[in-house]
Protein backbone atom coordinates (compact mmCIF):
# COMPACT_ATOMS: atom_id res chain seq x y z
CA UNK A 1 0.00 0.00 0.00
CA UNK A 2 1.19 3.47 -0.83
CA UNK A 3 1.62 5.88 2.08
CA UNK A 4 -0.15 8.73 0.32
CA UNK A 5 -2.44 7.91 -2.54
CA UNK A 6 -4.39 10.35 -4.66
CA UNK A 7 -6.89 9.17 -7.26
CA UNK A 8 -8.77 11.21 -9.83
CA UNK A 9 -8.24 14.39 -7.85
CA UNK A 10 -10.49 17.24 -8.91
CA UNK A 11 -10.71 20.63 -7.27
CA UNK A 12 -12.26 23.98 -7.98
CA UNK A 13 -12.46 27.40 -6.44
CA UNK A 14 -15.89 28.68 -7.39
CA UNK A 15 -16.67 27.91 -11.00
CA UNK A 16 -13.38 27.05 -12.73
CA UNK A 17 -11.93 23.57 -12.27
CA UNK A 18 -8.30 23.91 -11.21
CA UNK A 19 -7.41 20.22 -10.80
CA UNK A 20 -8.92 18.12 -13.54
CA UNK A 21 -8.54 14.57 -12.31
CA UNK A 22 -5.13 12.93 -11.93
CA UNK A 23 -3.49 10.23 -9.82
CA UNK A 24 -0.43 10.62 -7.66
CA UNK A 25 1.15 8.45 -5.01
CA UNK A 26 4.00 8.67 -2.56
CA UNK A 27 5.69 5.63 -1.00
CA UNK A 28 7.04 5.45 2.50
CA UNK A 29 10.50 7.06 2.59
CA UNK A 30 10.29 8.56 -0.90
CA UNK A 31 10.87 12.12 -2.01
CA UNK A 32 8.44 12.90 -4.79
CA UNK A 33 8.67 16.12 -6.76
CA UNK A 34 5.56 17.83 -8.10
CA UNK A 35 6.55 20.20 -10.88
CA UNK A 36 4.75 22.57 -13.16
CA UNK A 37 4.55 26.16 -14.34
CA UNK A 38 2.82 29.02 -12.54
CA UNK A 39 -0.83 28.25 -11.97
CA UNK A 40 -0.51 24.55 -12.89
CA UNK A 41 -2.25 23.56 -9.65
CA UNK A 42 0.68 22.43 -7.51
CA UNK A 43 -0.27 24.40 -4.41
CA UNK A 44 -3.91 23.51 -4.88
CA UNK A 45 -2.93 19.83 -4.79
CA UNK A 46 -1.14 20.28 -1.46
CA UNK A 47 -3.98 22.40 -0.10
CA UNK A 48 -6.47 19.74 -1.12
CA UNK A 49 -4.46 17.13 0.80
CA UNK A 50 -4.55 19.38 3.88
CA UNK A 51 -8.27 19.97 3.62
CA UNK A 52 -7.97 23.63 2.71
CA UNK A 53 -9.82 23.53 -0.61
CA UNK A 54 -13.59 23.59 -0.19
CA UNK A 55 -14.58 21.71 -3.35
CA UNK A 56 -12.61 18.53 -3.87
CA UNK A 57 -13.60 15.27 -5.50
CA UNK A 58 -11.79 11.99 -6.07
CA UNK A 59 -9.91 10.28 -3.27
CA UNK A 60 -6.99 11.12 -1.03
CA UNK A 61 -5.81 8.49 1.43
CA UNK A 62 -2.98 8.30 3.93
CA UNK A 63 -2.20 4.74 4.98
CA UNK A 64 -5.50 3.74 3.47
CA UNK A 65 -7.45 6.25 5.59
CA UNK A 66 -9.43 8.82 3.65
CA UNK A 67 -8.45 12.43 4.26
CA UNK A 68 -11.28 13.84 2.23
CA UNK A 69 -13.82 15.74 4.29
CA UNK A 70 -11.64 15.78 7.41
CA UNK A 71 -10.73 19.05 9.09
CA UNK A 72 -7.28 20.50 8.57
CA UNK A 73 -6.45 19.92 12.24
CA UNK A 74 -7.48 16.26 11.99
CA UNK A 75 -5.38 15.78 8.86
CA UNK A 76 -2.40 17.30 10.66
CA UNK A 77 -2.96 14.90 13.55
CA UNK A 78 -2.97 11.97 11.13
CA UNK A 79 0.59 12.88 10.20
CA UNK A 80 0.46 15.35 7.32
CA UNK A 81 2.76 18.31 7.89
CA UNK A 82 2.29 21.11 5.36
CA UNK A 83 4.93 23.81 4.94
CA UNK A 84 2.90 26.21 2.82
CA UNK A 85 3.76 28.67 0.11
CA UNK A 86 5.02 31.90 1.64
CA UNK A 87 6.42 30.17 4.75
CA UNK A 88 3.74 31.59 7.04
CA UNK A 89 6.03 31.95 10.05
CA UNK A 90 4.08 33.55 12.91
CA UNK A 91 5.39 37.13 12.84
CA UNK A 92 4.79 37.94 16.49
CA UNK A 93 6.38 34.79 17.89
CA UNK A 94 10.07 33.99 18.22
CA UNK A 95 11.90 31.44 16.10
CA UNK A 96 11.95 28.98 19.00
CA UNK A 97 8.23 29.47 19.70
CA UNK A 98 7.41 28.95 16.04
CA UNK A 99 9.40 25.72 15.96
CA UNK A 100 7.88 24.47 19.23
CA UNK A 101 4.37 25.02 17.87
CA UNK A 102 5.22 22.58 15.10
CA UNK A 103 4.71 19.83 17.69
CA UNK A 104 1.21 21.07 18.54
CA UNK A 105 -0.48 17.87 17.42
CA UNK A 106 1.78 15.56 19.43
CA UNK A 107 1.77 14.53 23.06
CA UNK A 108 5.33 15.29 23.95
CA UNK A 109 7.02 16.31 27.19
CA UNK A 110 8.77 19.61 27.69
CA UNK A 111 12.14 17.90 27.86
CA UNK A 112 11.57 16.00 24.62
CA UNK A 113 10.40 19.17 22.93
CA UNK A 114 13.56 20.91 23.99
CA UNK A 115 15.72 18.09 22.70
CA UNK A 116 13.91 17.96 19.37
CA UNK A 117 14.09 21.72 18.90
CA UNK A 118 17.80 21.38 19.48
CA UNK A 119 18.01 18.72 16.77
CA UNK A 120 16.26 21.08 14.36
CA UNK A 121 18.79 23.74 15.23
CA UNK A 122 21.52 21.22 14.36
CA UNK A 123 19.89 20.88 10.97
CA UNK A 124 19.76 24.68 10.52
CA UNK A 125 22.64 26.07 12.63
CA UNK A 126 21.66 29.67 11.76
CA UNK A 127 18.45 29.26 13.70
CA UNK A 128 20.17 28.60 17.01
CA UNK A 129 21.57 32.11 17.05
CA UNK A 130 18.17 33.52 16.03
CA UNK A 131 16.16 31.46 18.52
CA UNK A 132 14.80 34.43 20.45
CA UNK A 133 14.24 36.74 17.49
CA UNK A 134 10.68 37.55 16.37
CA UNK A 135 9.44 36.06 13.11
CA UNK A 136 8.74 39.32 11.32
CA UNK A 137 12.38 40.38 11.50
CA UNK A 138 13.72 37.38 9.57
CA UNK A 139 14.99 37.25 5.98
CA UNK A 140 13.41 35.00 3.36
CA UNK A 141 15.97 32.25 3.75
CA UNK A 142 15.69 32.30 7.53
CA UNK A 143 11.90 32.17 7.29
CA UNK A 144 12.11 29.11 5.08
CA UNK A 145 14.39 27.38 7.55
CA UNK A 146 12.01 28.14 10.42
CA UNK A 147 9.08 26.89 8.36
CA UNK A 148 10.81 23.59 7.53
CA UNK A 149 12.07 23.12 11.10
CA UNK A 150 8.54 23.76 12.36
CA UNK A 151 7.11 21.33 9.82
CA UNK A 152 9.55 18.63 10.92
CA UNK A 153 8.61 19.09 14.59
CA UNK A 154 5.32 17.37 13.77
CA UNK A 155 7.34 14.20 13.18
CA UNK A 156 5.14 13.72 10.13
CA UNK A 157 4.26 10.64 8.10
CA UNK A 158 4.55 12.88 5.08
CA UNK A 159 5.99 16.37 4.76
CA UNK A 160 4.43 18.64 2.12
CA UNK A 161 6.86 21.34 1.01
CA UNK A 162 5.51 24.12 -1.20
CA UNK A 163 8.21 25.90 -3.20
CA UNK A 164 10.89 26.07 -0.54
CA UNK A 165 13.31 27.74 -2.97
CA UNK A 166 10.99 30.53 -4.07
CA UNK A 167 12.62 33.94 -3.93
CA UNK A 168 15.82 32.75 -2.27
CA UNK A 169 19.40 33.55 -3.29
CA UNK A 170 21.17 30.63 -5.03
CA UNK A 171 23.43 29.99 -2.06
CA UNK A 172 20.43 29.73 0.28
CA UNK A 173 18.64 27.46 -2.18
CA UNK A 174 21.66 25.13 -2.06
CA UNK A 175 21.48 25.12 1.71
CA UNK A 176 17.75 24.39 1.79
CA UNK A 177 18.13 21.49 -0.64
CA UNK A 178 21.05 20.13 1.35
CA UNK A 179 18.68 19.92 4.31
CA UNK A 180 16.00 18.24 2.19
CA UNK A 181 18.66 15.65 1.36
CA UNK A 182 19.34 15.19 5.06
CA UNK A 183 15.63 14.89 5.80
CA UNK A 184 15.45 11.95 3.43
CA UNK A 185 18.29 10.26 5.33
CA UNK A 186 16.15 10.54 8.46
CA UNK A 187 13.53 8.52 6.59
CA UNK A 188 10.98 11.32 6.29
CA UNK A 189 8.66 11.05 3.32
CA UNK A 190 8.38 14.26 1.29
CA UNK A 191 6.08 15.59 -1.39
CA UNK A 192 8.02 18.52 -2.80
CA UNK A 193 6.39 21.19 -4.96
CA UNK A 194 8.90 23.21 -6.97
CA UNK A 195 9.34 25.42 -9.97
CA UNK A 196 13.05 24.90 -9.71
CA UNK A 197 12.94 21.57 -11.55
CA UNK A 198 16.68 21.19 -11.63
CA UNK A 199 17.07 21.29 -7.85
CA UNK A 200 13.91 19.30 -7.19
CA UNK A 201 14.85 16.44 -9.51
CA UNK A 202 18.32 16.32 -8.01
CA UNK A 203 16.89 15.21 -4.65
CA UNK A 204 13.72 13.39 -5.76
CA UNK A 205 13.15 9.68 -6.34
CA UNK A 206 10.29 10.32 -8.74
CA UNK A 207 8.53 13.29 -10.22
CA UNK A 208 5.20 14.38 -11.62
CA UNK A 209 4.68 17.30 -13.99
CA UNK A 210 1.35 19.12 -13.91
CA UNK A 211 0.04 21.33 -16.65
CA UNK A 212 -3.11 23.40 -16.02
CA UNK A 213 -4.59 20.84 -13.67
CA UNK A 214 -3.71 17.75 -15.71
CA UNK A 215 -0.87 15.31 -15.30
CA UNK A 216 1.52 15.83 -18.20
CA UNK A 217 3.98 13.09 -17.35
CA UNK A 218 5.53 11.21 -14.46
CA UNK A 219 8.66 9.16 -13.95
CA UNK A 220 12.17 8.96 -12.56
CA UNK A 221 14.20 12.17 -12.59
CA UNK A 222 16.33 11.16 -15.57
CA UNK A 223 13.26 10.04 -17.51
CA UNK A 224 11.61 13.40 -16.91
CA UNK A 225 14.81 15.14 -17.68
CA UNK A 226 15.02 13.47 -21.07
CA UNK A 227 11.34 13.60 -21.95
CA UNK A 228 11.06 15.81 -25.00
CA UNK A 229 7.51 16.80 -24.11
CA UNK A 230 8.62 17.96 -20.68
CA UNK A 231 11.64 19.75 -22.05
CA UNK A 232 9.58 21.59 -24.56
CA UNK A 233 6.60 22.34 -22.39
CA UNK A 234 8.15 23.13 -19.12
CA UNK A 235 11.75 22.49 -18.24
CA UNK A 236 12.81 24.44 -21.29
CA UNK A 237 16.13 26.18 -21.11
CA UNK A 238 16.81 25.00 -17.57
CA UNK A 239 17.39 21.45 -18.80
CA UNK A 240 20.64 22.59 -20.29
CA UNK A 241 22.14 22.68 -16.78
Amino acid sequence: MKLLEIKDLRARYGAGEVLKGFDLSVDQGEIVALLGANGAGKSTTLRAISGLVPHVAGSITLDGKSLLGQTTEAIARLGVSHVPEGRRVFPGLTVRENVILGASNRRISGADTKREVDQKFDLFPDLRRLADVLGWTLSGGQLQMVAIARGLMANPRVLLLDEPSLGLAPLIVQQVFKVIGEIRKLGTTVLLVEQNAHMALSVADRGYVLETGNLLVQGKPDELWNDPQVRAAYLGGMAAG
Partner: protein, 291 residues
Amino acid sequence: MATFLQLLFTGLGIGAIYALVALGFVLLIRAASVVNFAQGQFSMVGAYLLVVGFNVLGLPYYLSMFLSVVLMAGFGVLFAGATYWPLRHRGGLPVIISTIGASIFLENIVLFLYGPSPEVLPGLFDSPGIQVGPVFMDSQYLSILVASTILVILQYLIFEKTLLGKKLQATSQDKEMASLLGIPVVAMILITFGYSAALGGLAGMLVAPVLFVSVGMGGLIALKAFAANIIGGYGSIPGAILGGLLLGVAETLGASYISVPYKDAFAFAMLLMFLMVRPQGLFGEKISEKA
Protein backbone atom coordinates in the same frame (compact mmCIF):
# COMPACT_ATOMS: atom_id res chain seq x y z
CA MET B 1 -1.27 69.07 44.67
CA ALA B 2 -3.19 67.00 47.18
CA THR B 3 -6.35 67.35 45.11
CA PHE B 4 -4.41 66.39 42.02
CA LEU B 5 -3.08 63.21 43.60
CA GLN B 6 -6.53 62.38 44.87
CA LEU B 7 -7.97 62.81 41.40
CA LEU B 8 -5.14 60.81 39.89
CA PHE B 9 -6.00 57.92 42.17
CA THR B 10 -9.68 58.02 41.28
CA GLY B 11 -8.88 58.43 37.60
CA LEU B 12 -6.57 55.42 37.60
CA GLY B 13 -9.29 53.38 39.30
CA ILE B 14 -11.87 54.25 36.65
CA GLY B 15 -9.22 53.92 33.97
CA ALA B 16 -8.43 50.39 35.14
CA ILE B 17 -12.03 49.42 34.44
CA TYR B 18 -11.80 50.89 30.95
CA ALA B 19 -8.54 49.01 30.51
CA LEU B 20 -10.08 45.66 31.46
CA VAL B 21 -12.98 46.12 29.07
CA ALA B 22 -10.60 47.37 26.38
CA LEU B 23 -8.48 44.23 26.86
CA GLY B 24 -11.57 42.15 26.20
CA PHE B 25 -12.10 44.08 22.97
CA VAL B 26 -8.51 43.69 21.85
CA LEU B 27 -8.30 39.97 22.52
CA LEU B 28 -11.32 39.30 20.33
CA ILE B 29 -10.08 41.61 17.62
CA ARG B 30 -6.80 39.72 17.57
CA ALA B 31 -8.09 36.18 17.94
CA ALA B 32 -11.18 36.29 15.78
CA SER B 33 -11.06 39.68 14.01
CA VAL B 34 -14.33 40.40 15.80
CA VAL B 35 -15.22 43.87 17.01
CA ASN B 36 -17.58 42.91 19.80
CA PHE B 37 -20.12 45.63 20.40
CA ALA B 38 -21.59 43.69 23.30
CA GLN B 39 -18.36 43.88 25.31
CA GLY B 40 -19.95 46.50 27.59
CA GLN B 41 -23.01 44.36 28.10
CA PHE B 42 -20.68 41.61 29.34
CA SER B 43 -19.87 43.99 32.21
CA MET B 44 -23.54 44.67 32.81
CA VAL B 45 -24.45 40.98 32.84
CA GLY B 46 -21.53 40.25 35.16
CA ALA B 47 -22.69 42.90 37.61
CA TYR B 48 -26.24 41.54 37.55
CA LEU B 49 -24.97 38.00 38.17
CA LEU B 50 -23.28 39.35 41.28
CA VAL B 51 -26.54 40.99 42.29
CA VAL B 52 -28.29 37.64 41.90
CA GLY B 53 -25.63 35.74 43.82
CA PHE B 54 -25.12 38.18 46.66
CA ASN B 55 -28.31 40.24 46.98
CA VAL B 56 -30.85 37.66 45.92
CA LEU B 57 -29.43 34.25 46.81
CA GLY B 58 -27.47 35.55 49.77
CA LEU B 59 -24.25 33.73 48.87
CA PRO B 60 -20.99 35.06 50.28
CA TYR B 61 -19.59 37.97 48.28
CA TYR B 62 -16.42 36.29 47.05
CA LEU B 63 -18.20 33.09 46.19
CA SER B 64 -20.79 35.06 44.22
CA MET B 65 -18.00 36.81 42.37
CA PHE B 66 -16.21 33.59 41.63
CA LEU B 67 -19.35 31.88 40.38
CA SER B 68 -20.27 34.89 38.29
CA VAL B 69 -16.86 34.89 36.61
CA VAL B 70 -17.19 31.19 35.81
CA LEU B 71 -20.71 31.72 34.47
CA MET B 72 -19.48 34.64 32.39
CA ALA B 73 -16.80 32.46 30.79
CA GLY B 74 -19.47 29.95 29.82
CA PHE B 75 -21.68 32.77 28.68
CA GLY B 76 -18.87 34.02 26.43
CA VAL B 77 -18.70 30.65 24.71
CA LEU B 78 -22.48 30.61 24.15
CA PHE B 79 -22.27 34.17 22.90
CA ALA B 80 -19.64 33.08 20.36
CA GLY B 81 -21.90 30.26 19.23
CA ALA B 82 -24.78 32.63 18.69
CA THR B 83 -23.16 35.71 17.19
CA TYR B 84 -19.82 34.76 15.70
CA TRP B 85 -19.99 31.14 14.67
CA PRO B 86 -22.85 31.23 12.15
CA LEU B 87 -21.34 34.28 10.42
CA ARG B 88 -17.63 33.57 10.70
CA HIS B 89 -17.05 33.14 6.98
CA ARG B 90 -18.97 36.29 6.04
CA GLY B 91 -16.32 38.86 7.00
CA GLY B 92 -16.30 41.45 9.75
CA LEU B 93 -19.45 43.50 9.22
CA PRO B 94 -22.14 40.81 9.67
CA VAL B 95 -20.52 39.73 12.94
CA ILE B 96 -20.37 43.34 14.15
CA ILE B 97 -24.05 43.75 13.41
CA SER B 98 -24.90 40.53 15.18
CA THR B 99 -22.95 41.64 18.29
CA ILE B 100 -24.88 44.93 18.22
CA GLY B 101 -28.06 42.90 18.04
CA ALA B 102 -26.90 40.75 20.93
CA SER B 103 -26.11 43.83 23.03
CA ILE B 104 -29.66 45.12 22.57
CA PHE B 105 -31.05 41.67 23.29
CA LEU B 106 -29.05 41.37 26.52
CA GLU B 107 -30.15 44.78 27.75
CA ASN B 108 -33.76 43.98 27.09
CA ILE B 109 -33.61 40.60 28.77
CA VAL B 110 -32.13 42.18 31.89
CA LEU B 111 -34.64 45.03 31.69
CA PHE B 112 -37.42 42.48 31.53
CA LEU B 113 -36.07 40.55 34.51
CA TYR B 114 -34.98 43.47 36.69
CA GLY B 115 -36.80 46.55 35.50
CA PRO B 116 -35.27 49.97 35.00
CA SER B 117 -34.50 50.87 38.62
CA PRO B 118 -30.82 50.39 39.45
CA GLU B 119 -29.54 47.84 41.93
CA VAL B 120 -27.00 48.58 44.63
CA LEU B 121 -24.02 46.40 45.51
CA PRO B 122 -21.72 46.88 48.48
CA GLY B 123 -17.96 47.07 48.01
CA LEU B 124 -15.50 44.27 48.51
CA PHE B 125 -14.47 45.62 51.91
CA ASP B 126 -16.44 47.03 54.81
CA SER B 127 -13.82 49.67 55.52
CA PRO B 128 -14.35 52.83 53.48
CA GLY B 129 -10.64 53.17 52.73
CA ILE B 130 -7.28 54.27 54.01
CA GLN B 131 -5.50 57.60 54.19
CA VAL B 132 -2.06 57.53 52.55
CA GLY B 133 -0.42 60.92 52.93
CA PRO B 134 -2.64 63.43 51.22
CA VAL B 135 -4.64 60.80 49.33
CA PHE B 136 -7.68 59.02 50.68
CA MET B 137 -7.71 55.64 49.01
CA ASP B 138 -11.26 54.49 48.70
CA SER B 139 -11.30 50.75 49.32
CA GLN B 140 -13.27 49.91 46.18
CA TYR B 141 -11.00 51.94 43.89
CA LEU B 142 -8.09 50.29 45.62
CA SER B 143 -9.65 46.87 44.99
CA ILE B 144 -10.15 47.75 41.34
CA LEU B 145 -6.51 48.77 40.97
CA VAL B 146 -5.16 45.72 42.75
CA ALA B 147 -7.45 43.31 40.92
CA SER B 148 -6.66 44.84 37.53
CA THR B 149 -2.94 44.69 38.17
CA ILE B 150 -3.21 41.03 39.13
CA LEU B 151 -5.32 40.29 36.05
CA VAL B 152 -2.90 42.02 33.72
CA ILE B 153 0.03 40.12 35.19
CA LEU B 154 -1.90 36.85 35.01
CA GLN B 155 -2.80 37.49 31.42
CA TYR B 156 0.77 38.30 30.58
CA LEU B 157 1.91 35.05 32.17
CA ILE B 158 -0.72 33.02 30.34
CA PHE B 159 -0.02 34.55 26.95
CA GLU B 160 3.74 34.78 27.15
CA LYS B 161 4.79 31.89 29.36
CA THR B 162 2.50 29.00 28.50
CA LEU B 163 2.09 26.81 25.45
CA LEU B 164 -1.64 27.56 25.46
CA GLY B 165 -0.80 31.26 25.29
CA LYS B 166 1.47 30.69 22.31
CA LYS B 167 -1.25 28.72 20.56
CA LEU B 168 -3.71 31.54 21.23
CA GLN B 169 -1.22 34.01 19.78
CA ALA B 170 -0.54 31.81 16.77
CA THR B 171 -4.26 31.54 16.14
CA SER B 172 -4.65 35.29 16.28
CA GLN B 173 -1.75 35.80 13.87
CA ASP B 174 -2.57 33.21 11.20
CA LYS B 175 -5.54 30.87 11.65
CA GLU B 176 -4.91 28.77 8.57
CA MET B 177 -1.29 28.14 9.53
CA ALA B 178 -2.34 27.33 13.07
CA SER B 179 -4.77 24.73 11.79
CA LEU B 180 -2.05 23.23 9.56
CA LEU B 181 -0.04 22.66 12.73
CA GLY B 182 -2.99 20.85 14.30
CA ILE B 183 -3.81 23.68 16.70
CA PRO B 184 -7.57 23.46 17.38
CA VAL B 185 -8.42 26.90 16.08
CA VAL B 186 -12.09 26.73 17.03
CA ALA B 187 -11.26 25.87 20.63
CA MET B 188 -8.74 28.71 20.75
CA ILE B 189 -11.34 31.19 19.55
CA LEU B 190 -13.94 29.91 22.02
CA ILE B 191 -11.42 30.18 24.85
CA THR B 192 -10.77 33.77 23.85
CA PHE B 193 -14.50 34.55 23.85
CA GLY B 194 -14.88 32.93 27.27
CA TYR B 195 -11.89 34.79 28.67
CA SER B 196 -13.04 38.06 27.19
CA ALA B 197 -16.51 37.69 28.69
CA ALA B 198 -15.09 36.76 32.09
CA LEU B 199 -12.83 39.81 31.96
CA GLY B 200 -15.69 42.10 30.96
CA GLY B 201 -17.94 40.60 33.61
CA LEU B 202 -15.31 41.02 36.29
CA ALA B 203 -14.82 44.64 35.30
CA GLY B 204 -18.57 45.14 35.74
CA MET B 205 -18.51 43.51 39.18
CA LEU B 206 -15.57 45.61 40.28
CA VAL B 207 -17.09 48.87 39.15
CA ALA B 208 -20.62 48.05 40.35
CA PRO B 209 -20.16 49.32 43.92
CA VAL B 210 -18.87 52.64 42.55
CA LEU B 211 -21.69 53.14 40.07
CA PHE B 212 -25.14 51.71 40.28
CA VAL B 213 -25.93 48.42 38.65
CA SER B 214 -28.17 49.36 35.77
CA VAL B 215 -29.13 48.04 32.38
CA GLY B 216 -27.34 50.89 30.66
CA MET B 217 -24.11 50.71 32.65
CA GLY B 218 -22.27 48.71 29.99
CA GLY B 219 -22.86 51.00 27.06
CA LEU B 220 -20.88 53.96 28.27
CA ILE B 221 -18.07 51.82 29.69
CA ALA B 222 -17.74 50.07 26.35
CA LEU B 223 -17.62 53.33 24.44
CA LYS B 224 -14.83 54.57 26.69
CA ALA B 225 -13.04 51.24 26.41
CA PHE B 226 -13.29 51.37 22.65
CA ALA B 227 -11.89 54.89 22.70
CA ALA B 228 -9.09 53.58 24.94
CA ASN B 229 -8.38 50.89 22.38
CA ILE B 230 -7.97 53.47 19.63
CA ILE B 231 -5.95 55.85 21.79
CA GLY B 232 -3.65 53.03 22.78
CA GLY B 233 -3.34 51.69 19.23
CA TYR B 234 -6.02 49.55 17.60
CA GLY B 235 -5.55 45.92 18.57
CA SER B 236 -2.60 46.55 20.88
CA ILE B 237 -2.61 44.91 24.31
CA PRO B 238 -0.30 47.36 26.10
CA GLY B 239 -2.18 50.09 24.23
CA ALA B 240 -5.51 48.97 25.71
CA ILE B 241 -4.10 49.12 29.22
CA LEU B 242 -2.37 52.47 28.86
CA GLY B 243 -5.20 53.95 26.80
CA GLY B 244 -7.73 52.98 29.45
CA LEU B 245 -5.71 54.44 32.29
CA LEU B 246 -5.03 57.63 30.35
CA LEU B 247 -8.69 58.07 29.54
CA GLY B 248 -9.77 57.50 33.14
CA VAL B 249 -7.30 60.05 34.43
CA ALA B 250 -8.10 62.59 31.71
CA GLU B 251 -11.82 62.54 32.31
CA THR B 252 -11.48 62.67 36.09
CA LEU B 253 -9.12 65.64 35.91
CA GLY B 254 -11.28 67.31 33.28
CA ALA B 255 -14.43 66.85 35.29
CA SER B 256 -12.86 68.28 38.39
CA TYR B 257 -10.87 71.18 36.96
CA ILE B 258 -13.10 72.17 34.08
CA SER B 259 -16.65 70.90 34.22
CA VAL B 260 -18.46 67.94 35.69
CA PRO B 261 -21.36 67.81 33.22
CA TYR B 262 -18.89 67.48 30.35
CA LYS B 263 -17.03 64.58 31.94
CA ASP B 264 -17.80 62.18 29.11
CA ALA B 265 -16.95 64.79 26.51
CA PHE B 266 -13.30 64.80 27.63
CA ALA B 267 -12.90 61.17 26.72
CA PHE B 268 -14.24 61.75 23.25
CA ALA B 269 -12.33 64.99 22.77
CA MET B 270 -9.21 63.02 23.56
CA LEU B 271 -10.25 60.32 21.08
CA LEU B 272 -10.76 62.94 18.35
CA MET B 273 -7.43 64.53 19.14
CA PHE B 274 -5.68 61.19 18.76
CA LEU B 275 -7.52 60.38 15.55
CA MET B 276 -6.34 63.68 14.08
CA VAL B 277 -2.79 63.82 15.41
CA ARG B 278 -1.78 60.20 15.90
CA PRO B 279 -4.33 57.87 14.34
CA GLN B 280 -2.19 54.78 14.92
CA GLY B 281 -2.47 55.44 18.66
CA LEU B 282 0.24 55.14 21.28
CA PHE B 283 1.35 51.67 20.25
CA GLY B 284 0.43 51.66 16.57
CA GLU B 285 1.47 48.22 15.35
CA LYS B 286 3.34 47.19 12.28
CA ILE B 287 1.05 46.46 9.37
CA SER B 288 2.77 43.09 8.94
CA GLU B 289 1.50 41.94 12.29
CA LYS B 290 -2.09 42.72 11.49
CA ALA B 291 -2.15 41.18 8.04
